[in-house]
């Protein structure tokens, strides 16, 4: 059984079709890259999966349960974690408290004490290399540190599926490589399916994903193993456009 199943999901904003009849399946522990130019519907797809807004059509099924209309906050305890494109720390709280909040309300919700959550926080902060900063208020971190904190906060939720929104944008190439290595390791050890949404950094996609989904204008254009997907001529078309031929409109 697939961990996540998205069936014919369509999400419209007035006349704009942000996500157009998308279906996809994600298995437990899978590493997936979602690529596509700006405005191709990636973030909307994330929002539908994490429950920020319900789709107009189609269903979202997680571990065999229909969660299409489930409130947002009920999804984290089921195992859906998420990071944001622009990190959203709870600024006045310390780094450690931020990460502990993830542990407290994630899949361990109701099963861990506050103290235990703080221990879990320490563990993940150590993994991402933020342990030294744990007592700083999170608002005072650098942008890269905020991203790392958000990732450890999401991991502390012990998710089965982690949706990462541009987690590596703005990072130094060296940092990206170590981040990719780290994520692959954690995903394997804890059996987390990670979906990384990437707009530009192909370096991150090739090193990370086993499978790549290319989105274009709200629809799924390609869904194939990484090497195959990225050499597909249509990917180049999507990003760079192509010369218009007779009877066709230039796209891009």
């Amino acid at each position: 059984m697939a961990l996540l199943k998205v069936e014919n999901v369509t999400k419209r904003f007035g006349g704009l079709i942000a996500v157009d009849d998308i279906s996809l399946e994600i298995e437990a522990g899978e590493l997936i890259g979602i690529v596509g130019p700006n405005g191709s519907g990636k973030t909307t797809l994330y929002n539908v999966i994490s429950g920020v807004y319900p789709p107009e059509e189609g269903r979202v099924i997680f571990e065999g349960k229909d969660i299409t209309k489930l409130p947002v906050y009920k999804r984290a305890p089921m195992g859906i974690g998420r990071t944001f494109q622009i990190p959203r720390p709870f600024s006045s709280a310390t780094v450690r408290e931020n990460v502990a909040t993830g542990a407290m309300f994630g899949t361990l919700s109701g099963k861990v004490s506050v103290d235990k959550s703080l221990q879990i926080a320490d563990h993940y902060l150590e993994l991402v290399g933020l342990y030294e900063q744990k007592d700083k208020t999170s608002g005072g971190l650098t942008p890269t540190e905020k991203k790392l904190m958000e990732i450890s906060r999401a991991l502390a939720m012990k998710p089965k599926l982690l949706l990462m929104d541009e987690a590596m944008a703005g990072m130094h190439p060296k940092d990206i490589d170590s981040m990719v290595k780290f994520l692959k390791k954690v995903a394997k050890e804890e059996n987390i399916a990670i979906v990384a949404m990437v707009e530009h950094i192909m370096r991150a996609v090739t090193g990370f994903a086993q499978r790549v989904i290319v989105m274009y204008r709200g629809a799924k254009l390609i869904d194939a193993p990484t090497a195959e997907a990225l050499t597909d001529p249509r990917v180049v078309d999507v990003y760079l456009g192509r010369p218009s031929r007779e009877g066709e409109h230039a796209e891009g």
Binding site: S50, V52, P71, V72, Y73, K74, R75, A76, P77, R82, F84, R88, P89, F90, S91, S92, A93, E97, A100, T101, G102, M104, F105, G106, S109, V114, D135, R153, M157
Partner: protein, 281 residues
């Protein structure tokens, strides 16, 4: 209350409803022969009325934020006052006086001791309970949830926090404490209640100033803020009678602009990493 990040201009409504709750308890049951027991009935009615109002506020807080929330709370306060005065329920604009009822229920001696000594004790107990609740909230899961709600509600939801639930808990707790203070410090102490005396926005503003001055979302903040505010207000009234508000307002504005995290917030930051840190809560 400071923990949610919602500035509650409706706080005085809780106090007012608490006062009315006590008044209703005493006037309805003074002949029941329950003696001191009717005070607890009064308290119970106070808490019940405050719960309703807190749920109403929480309902609004789910939809409005910031200044709009504050305005809605002021509207509830004023609306309720005019409802009582206009429809003449609970004595209307004439209020309720229940000195006689209290004497009949408790006897003269007990009534005098109740209104002087025991109400003050009750307020101290309520303050202690409030401090205890704050401490429990801050140390517990609920404190983390409320911080998350205050800082970024949408991110909090995505992380599995039932924001509606935690906001409601915060409002109802705050409502109960306010109502308990109203029931004892206003109702039982003054033995009367008049709408213009209890639905006073001014008190709410004072509460907010005290909380901001001391440090919102901290335990010692309101205590320190209350001391600074209370003492300086009294002192200014003595040395420059009549001018105290004129002088006080700019001072409060300056303090709030200069130290947005309040005295305790500032101390917390200064003592970070020292041994004092764990005493500044």
């Amino acid at each position: 209350m400071g923990m949610t990040g919602y500035v509650d201009f409706g706080y005085v409504t809780f106090i007012a409803l608490g006062t009315y709750g006590m008044a209703l308890g005493i006037t309805m049951f003074y002949q029941s022969g329950l003696g001191i027991g009717i005070i607890f009935i009064g308290l119970f009615i106070a808490l019940f009325l405050a719960s309703l109002s807190a749920l109403l506020e929480a309902g609004i807080a789910l939809r409005l934020r910031g200044a709009y929330f504050a305005i809605a709370c002021i509207a509830i306060n004023e609306g309720l006052r005019h409802l009582i005065e206009g429809t003449r329920i609970w004595g209307g604009s004439e209020g309720m006086i229940f000195w006689k009822e209290m004497i009949e229920a408790f006897g003269r001696e007990t009534t005098i001791r109740l209104t002087t000594f025991w109400t003050d004790i009750a307020v101290l107990i309520i303050a202690a309970i409030a401090a205890l609740i704050t401490l429990i909230f801050m140390r517990g899961k609920i404190g983390y949830a409320l911080t998350a709600v205050r800082e970024d509600e949408d991110a909090a939801k995505v992380m599995g926090i039932n924001t509606t639930k935690y906001k409601t808990i915060a409002f109802v707790t705050s409502g109960w404490l306010g109502a308990a203070v109203g029931a004892f410090a206003w109702g039982l102490k003054l033995t009367h209640v008049f709408p213009p005396d209890v639905f006073v926005i001014h008190y709410t503003v004072e509460v907010i100033v005290v909380v901001l001055l001391g440090g919102a979302g901290t335990l010692l903040g309101p205590v320190i803020g209350g001391l600074i505010y209370g003492l300086s207000k009294y002192w200014l009234a003595v040395i420059l009678p009549g001018f105290q508000l004129l002088i006080f307002a700019p001072i409060v504005i300056i303090i709030i602009v200069a130290f947005p995290e309040g005295v305790i917030g500032l101390l917390k930051r200064r003592t970070k990493g020292t041994r004092l840190e764990k005493y500044i809560i």
